[in-house]
Amino acid sequence: MQSMTNEATPAPTPMLRAVDLHKRFGAIEVLKGVSLEVGRGEVIAIIGPSGSGKSTFLRCLIHLETVQRGCIEVEGRTLVSTDTGGECRYVADAEIRTICGAMGMVFQHFNLFPHLTVLENLIEAPMTVKGLRREDVVPKAEALLAKVGLADKRDAYPSRLSGGQKQRVAIARALAMEPDILLFDEPTSALDPELTGEVLRTMRELADEHMTMIVVTHEMAFAREVASRVIFMDGGLVVEARPARELFASPEHPRTRAFLENML
């Protein structure tokens, strides 16, 4: 039901605006002009076949990859723009870091820091990047751990955790930097099926708190129930982008239909 309220609030400045993104790796063009606008509190699910460019799109948004053409704005601030002559320009490095600071990302393979305990994983960036003092960040980190149900794992090393627990720590770690937008790249794909539930539950709670989220996922149930809009990508293009229940009830494009029939 929350998803309905999400849809109903159109934001004046979008949280994130990507226009006509083009990305090539050598000779292959992976993004062929992808655009997306995300409003505050929206949950966007990105679905599509393997190799369609979903991960690449997310990685371009948070500057893990650079685009060759297009424009990205985060909360009204320009990260990269392309002029009419096709000249693509990123802002200065310091500005890139500030702008991308509004976003957090959760990876398929967690990317936790193995040499740090769970708590240390959470406080590392607030201390190193924001220069906060340990005693100021620990209570908040502990609260986040409690929120994802891992208060008792505070002093454990990541290698001692199950996949589902690792991913919840990764989510808490991203939240510790207080991002406005969270990107997820297949957060449950590396997990045993019985462990996906706990991660999806955490993500659902975030959606209920109106966190703006962009989630690449193969979990169709999650996309249908939690996402306000679903983007279907194929071949480096957005084929269809519509409110979740519409897209699942009546996919317009034959390729969307074929993909959904395969998934369900």
Partner: protein, 217 residues
């Protein structure tokens, strides 16, 4: 036994020289090796190539030759030519040589860290320098402890090469007594000294490895 006690003072003095060379070399060549490794992984191709050439030169020629060159030939090299006393000359040679080996160890260690660690750090806002200092290098240390341990044990024995500069290290002290007294027992005592130093090092590295074993990867 009395004889052994008798020859101990000069041997201990020699051990002092050996340990000085060892400690100073280690303290300088490890950071220099790390700097070289980072340059070796630089984005700037000529920098990579220059460091690659340096490492090739240092690992491709005998340490003894390098030491002789720095002591005897360097004074006659135009522009950079300086005449160094024996101890500094030995230190310079050891540091330049061992830095090359440590550079390769660091480089392999840094490259063994998965890309996901860099990406995880980057999306949290860490700069490259912060990522290296806080995330990558602490993990590198754990991975390179075994080869560093090896290299360090080799160094304690390599210090004996300074005999070519006529410095009174442990081995030379022993040899002096052997020639004076016509007995080989000083060699046995010297060997025992090297073994003790190696044992201490081995124990030290084992301790470090245990410390780093608190986390698995």
């Amino acid at each position: 036994m009395d004889y052994v006690l008798n020859i101990l003072p000069p041997l201990i003095e020699g051990t002092g020289v050996t340990l000085q060379v060892f400690v100073i070399t280690l303290m300088l060549s490890v950071p220099l090796g790390l700097a070289l490794a980072l340059l070796r992984l630089s984005r700037i191709a000529p920098v990579r190539a220059a460091v690659g050439g340096y490492i090739w030169l240092m690992r491709g020629t005998p340490l003894m030759l390098q030491m002789l060159f720095i002591y005897f030939a360097l004074p006659f090299v135009p522009v950079i030519g300086v005449r160094l006393p024996d101890f500094p000359a030995a230190i310079v040679a050891f540091v330049l040589n061992y830095a090359a080996y440590f550079a390769e160890i660091f480089r392999a260690g840094i490259q063994s860290i998965e890309r996901g660690q860099y990406e995880g750090a980057k999306v949290l806002g860490l700069s490259y320098a912060q990522t290296m200092r806080r995330i990558v290098l602490p993990q590198v240390i754990k991975r390179i402890l075994p080869p560093v341990s090896n290299e360090t044990i080799t160094l304690i024995k390599d210090t004996s090469l300074i005999y070519v500069l006529a410095m009174n290290d442990l081995l030379r002290a022993a040899r002096g007594i052997v020639q004076r007294d016509f007995t080989t027992s000083p060699f046995v005592v010297a060997a025992a000294f090297y073994l003790i130093m190696t044992l201490v090092l081995t124990y030290g590295f084992q301790h470090l490895e245990k410390k780093y074993a608190v986390y698995d990867e």
